[in-house]
Every structure is written in C-alpha cells, then in structure tokens.
C-alpha cells in the first residue's frame, strides 16, 4: 500500500480531431498531457487552472469515465487498467463525481429520493426496506428535508439541486469524490454552504476529494494540497501554504495576484498576462507558458521544463523558479 489513496502517473488524454467525409483523424487535442497527481487519504486536493486547461478531463479520466491515452492510475495501489469490466463496476460506488451543472446532472423525470437511492439498490448496499431510511439520512447530512424525498428536480433551486447531486454521490459512502467545479454555477451565499459541506465531509467521514475549481479563494479556504494546471500540464503543485505563501511558477504568481484581498489599503503587484492561452491542439514548443510568460527566454522556447522538487512536496515546472 502506498501513502496515497489515488495516484496518477504520466496521465494523458488526447482527443482526435475528426474531419472530412470519413472522419479521418487530422490531429489531436492534447487536453491532458502527462499529469502526475497523488492525493493523500482524507484530504482535499485542489486542482486549479483557467477554462480549457484540462481540469475536468483530469477528473473524468481519473474516474475511468473516459479511456486514458497514456499513463497509469492507481487506486489504493491497484492499477485501474488491469481491472475487468465487472470489477470496475463493483468499484464504481467507491469513486464518485459531483457535477458542475446542477441542472443537467439530474434526470428531470426521476424524483430525487429515487435518484439518490437507486445506486444503493443496484449495488446491493441497502435492502429495499431500509432504503428510504438510508436516503433520508444522507439527505439530512446534505441539508435536505424529508419532504424533499418525492420531489422532482425542477422543484428545487440550483443550490438544493447541487445538494441532491452531492447526496447522490455520498449515499454510496465513496472513498474518493471528484468535485468538478461544484460551486461555480451557484450564488455566492449558496457557494459557502456547499463548500462547508465538503469541509464537513472531510472532517467527519474522512472522504478524500479532488476539488476542481477556478476560484482561488475557495481553493485556499478548503484545500490541503493544490495543483495548478496550464494547457494540459501541471505547472506547480504543493501544500496550500507553500503554494499561496511562495508561488514559484510565473503562471501561479499571475493567477494568485488576481485574487482580491479584503483590505482596501493593501497594494500588491498585479500581474496581467498578455494574450490568450494557446490551443491545446497545437501547444507551443518548449515550456507551454513561454508565449505569455514575462520571464521567458530562449531556453524556454526550446526546452520543456520538468517537474523539480523544491522543499517537501512543493514542486514546480519552470527553468527559473
């Protein structure tokens, strides 16, 4: 057994670009390109990055919802690729996903009580008699009332639906949850409640969570470890305090300098990046960030930086950091 609940090595996911009459592959979108991740049990791991950096793809590939192009995923030390289909299905309840969109992720024709409970029956984790009891329990944990049981998704607000989505994942008592931007579709006041719900899960049940977000304030508040993604690669990773205290990668610095501070007198350097992120279908040579990096040199254009350990688990992929 390793120290990590879930580990990914060199994880890649490339999507072919199909074109023409016969759908020939004319290129690849390298959504995720060689990502290493290791998440300790009972912690919340934050994955941050701008839109299109491959965060969602990392989450879904980790759960085996999409076949990976390369690399290795180990859950409790077991390589997921070696599992047969029935074994993988039996493992499903252990690995859960909370969706970003609380509207699209619930079937409009299924009452929420059934939506939360159906997988319990399906995997034989509950008998028919105690099902209702179990579902109501988990609904209570997520802040839903018993009278919500027979209601349909369209009768709920966005925040309540997100609670249903979380309850659906929690009912299976998973070891690992990928929360894919679970609060970005919600009002700020509701966001706080949902975030606290995740924090509570970690304290009470020791659930391990991969928390995908582009909201740095949320990640700083919630996560134990953080990884920053840019264009399909992790550029910097480490414990929260190390990362927020001393960001080393120029991209991380630029990102963190954009976090608003609740002090009107604070004057900070605001790093504004120039240009748009390049297309993951044609990533730049060398360091992928060199086209926008304020410190880029010739070396960055030619040579791709590898992940270097700094102190402890803090690691960075930059020639100059």
């Amino acid at each position: 057994m390793s120290d990590y609940l879930i580990e990914a090595r060199g994880l890649s996911k490339h999507f072919p670009i199909r074109d023409g009459l016969f759908g020939r592959s004319t290129g690849q979108v390298r959504a995720v390109d060689g990502v290493d991740l290791a998440i300790r049990p009972g912690t919340i791991f934050g994955l941050v990055g701008e839109s299109g950096s491959g965060k969602t793809t990392v989450g879904r590939t980790l759960l085996g919802l999409q076949p990976k192009s390369a690399g290795e995923i180990r859950f409790r030390g077991r390589d997921l690729a070696t599992l047969s289909k029935p074994e993988l299905r039996a493992l499903r309840p252990r690995l859960q996903l909370v969706f970003q969109d609380p509207y699209g992720s619930l079937n409009p024709r299924i009452p929420v009580g059934e939506a939360i409970g159906e997988a319990l029956l399906e995997h034989g984790l509950s008998s028919r008699d105690e099902l209702r009891e179990r579902v109501l329990e988990v609904m209570a944990v997520c802040g839903l009332a018993p009278y919500h049981y027979g209601r349909y998704p369209h009768e709920f607000s966005g925040g309540q639906r997100q609670r249903v989505g979380i309850a659906r994942a929690l009912a299976l008592q998973p070891d690992f949850i990928v929360a894919d931007e679970p609060v970005s579709a919600l009002d700020v006041s509701i966001q706080a409640q949902i975030i606290n719900l995740f924090a509570e899960l970690r304290e009470r049940h020791g659930t391990t969570i991969l928390f995908i977000s582009h909201d740095l304030a949320v990640v700083e508040h919630l996560c134990d470890d953080i990884a920053v993604m840019y264009l399909g690669k992790i550029v910097e990773t480490g414990p929260r305090d190390a990362l927020f205290g001393q960001p080393r990668h120029p991209y991380t610095r630029a990102l963190f300098s954009a976090v608003p501070v609740a002090d009107p007198d604070a004057r900070r350097e605001r790093i504004v990046l120039q240009g748009e992120p390049p297309s993951p279908a044609a990533p730049p040579s060398g360091c992928r960030f060199h086209t926008r990096c304020p410190q880029a040199s010739d070396r960055c254009r030619d040579e791709e930086p590898t992940m270097r350990p700094l102190d402890g688990t803090h690691r960075v992929a930059c020639h100059f950091a």
């Binding site: 759960l63 919802l65 299905r89 039996a90 499903r92 309840p93 690995l95 859960q96 996903l97 969706f99 969109d101 699209g104 992720s105 619930l106 079937n107 409009p108 024709r109 299924i110 009452p111 159906e118 997988a119 399906e122 995997h123 027979g150 209601r151 349909y152 369209h154 009768e155 659906r168 994942a169 299976l172």
Partner: protein
C-alpha cells in the same frame, strides 16, 4: 375523459386536480397534463375527437338502417327525416355508413401509427443508443424510404394489392401495414436524434458514475425522456395516416367497397352528376376527414406545447 367534461363545464381547478392525481402530483408528466388542461383549443379538439370516437362506436347501434342494407326504391335520395344524410346509389343510409367508415378510418389511422411506432421507435432508439453499423444500416433504410415520394409509392402498392385480388376484409390490415411502412422512418429519425442528444447529457454520465446496469440506464433514464416526443409525433402521425388512407381509398386502392371508409365514400365525387347534384354523398366524409385531421393536429400542437415548451416553433 372525466377531465375533459369537468374542463368543459368550467371547473378548471377540479380538472387540473384530477390531472395531477393521474400521474405523480408534481411529475413532469402531471405538470404537462395541467398545462394541456389550460389550453382551450387543444381541449376542444380532444373533446371533439372523443365525441367522434364515441359516435362512431355506438352511433350505428341506434340507427334504424344497417350500413350495407340496400334499398332499390330509395336510391340517391337527399337528406330527409328518415335518412338524415340521404342515401347513396345503392339506397344505403349515408349517415350509418359514415359512422361505420369512421370506425374503419380511425382504426386504420390509429393501428398503422401503433405499428409504425413499434418499428420506428425500436429501430430509432437502437440506432441512437448502439451507434456504429446498426445506426448506419437503420438510417440508410430510413433515408431510402423517406426519399421515395410517398403518394406514388402508396399507389403502386395499392395497385399490387388489387392485382393480387386480396379480399376486402384482409385489405384493411394490409393498408395498415403499408401506411406504417411510410410512417416509421420519420419517427425513427426523430427518436434517434433525441437518444443521441440525451446520451450526451450529464445525467446519463451520472448513471455511469453510479455504476447502474445497462437495463436501468436504458429503461429508467434514457427512454422515459423520449416519451414526450413520442406522444407528440405519434399523435400527428395519426392525422397523417388518416389522410394517407383517404388518398388511397379515394383512388380505390386502399380500403375497397363494400367495406366503407371516408376515403372510398369520397369516391362519389368522381362522378360529375354526384359532384354537382348530390353533395350529401361526398360532403359528409370530406368534412369528417377535414375536421378529424384538424382536431388531431390541434391536439398534437397542444401536447407539444404542454410536454415541452421549448419545442414551440
């Protein structure tokens, strides 16, 4: 039915309550029924259709005439107190025949849609869900059938039936099969498209995350979401099938005498004398076809608006 009657007497509240109790109180289906109950035009159309069906079913029993009883002394008589819609060239009562024809035309329309739904829905759903070669084969066949202009095709098939000397009793079943052959490709295409788009929705990915069985994913999650579309398309399909049956029978290639149908009753309009002097022979079936098709389409529009407000053009 009760809903309809309550609605008619202005008891909207009670009608809606009843509609709510029919399905689960707040299910999308119950809410759709409530929306439908508020649509006056659609409810009027539904009521008209219900009355028409009722009339065709029990009307002939109250008629003093048998639909195939000829009377050599009462040929081509205009409407009178004893024959409300007059008599035809064999002295048969037009009203009684109209109602009997209604049974046939409605049955043919309805049954052919049930058939084409059975074929079209199954093939469409399979094509959408399985994709690949199945999808390609089904869609190729559907496209092929859709490219053939339906009227000439119907005429050719009707002519073949006539040539084979199929007895009139059997013919109506064959007409149903022919009509469903024309009807299924449209339905299959629509259902396939719906399944394709549903498959990509987050809640279908959720069923995979939860590790649900294929059976449950298909029959509890995917297919129930295609039912609104199915209801709407099938309803409109009945109108189409009734029209197609009328074309065929009018041309003498569908339901053939002595079995009455609205289409073959219109046949009398082919004769100049009947057309000019004896409108009671062809106007009633013409109006029946017209009113039925309009009513079904209005009901279909109402259903579409009620089931999925987003589908509204």
């Amino acid at each position: 039915m009760t809903t309809l009657i309550l609605r008619l007497f202005g008891q909207r509240r009670r009608a809606e309550q009843l509609a709510g109790r029919l399905a689960h109180a707040h299910s999308p289906l119950a809410e759709a029924l409530r929306r439908l109950a508020r649509n006056r035009l659609a409810m009027a159309a539904a009521l008209f259709l219900a009355l028409l069906v009722l009339l065709c079913l029990i009307g002939p029993y109250f008629s003093p005439w048998r639909n195939d009883a000829t009377d050599a002394l009462m040929i081509n008589r205009p409407p009178s107190a004893s024959h409300w819609l007059g008599t035809d060239f064999l002295g048969r009562d037009v009203l009684t025949r109209l109602l009997m024809a209604g049974r046939i035309s409605l049955t043919v329309g309805f049954a052919s849609v049930v058939l084409s739904v059975a074929v079209g829905y199954t093939l469409g759903a399979l094509a959408g869900y399985l994709g690949g070669v199945v999808d390609l084969a089904v869609m190729l066949l559907a496209d092929l059938l859709m490219t053939l202009p339906s009227l000439p095709l119907l005429i050719i098939m009707g002519a073949v039936l006539s040539e084979l000397k199929v007895p009139p009793d059997y013919r109506i079943y064959l007409v149903m099969v022919i009509l469903s052959l024309i009807g299924w490709p449209t339905l299959a295409r629509l259902i396939r498209g719906q399944v394709l788009s549903l498959r990509e929705r987050d809640f279908m990915l959720a069923t995979e995350v939860l590790g649900l069985s294929t059976r449950r994913r298909l029959f509890r999650h995917l297919l129930p979401n295609t039912v609104p579309l199915l209801i709407v398309v099938a309803t409109m399909g009945v109108a189409n099938a009734i029209l197609n049956e009328a074309y065929l029978s009018y041309l003498g290639l569908g339901v053939v005498p002595p079995t009455p149908s609205w289409g073959n009753m219109m046949d009398t309009a082919n004769s100049l004398i009947d057309f000019q002097r004896r409108p009671w022979l062809w106007m009633p079936p013409g109006l029946a076809i017209f009113a039925t098709v309009i009513a079904i389409n209005l009901l279909g529009d109402g259903l579409r608006d009620a089931l999925d407000p987003k589908m509204k053009p």
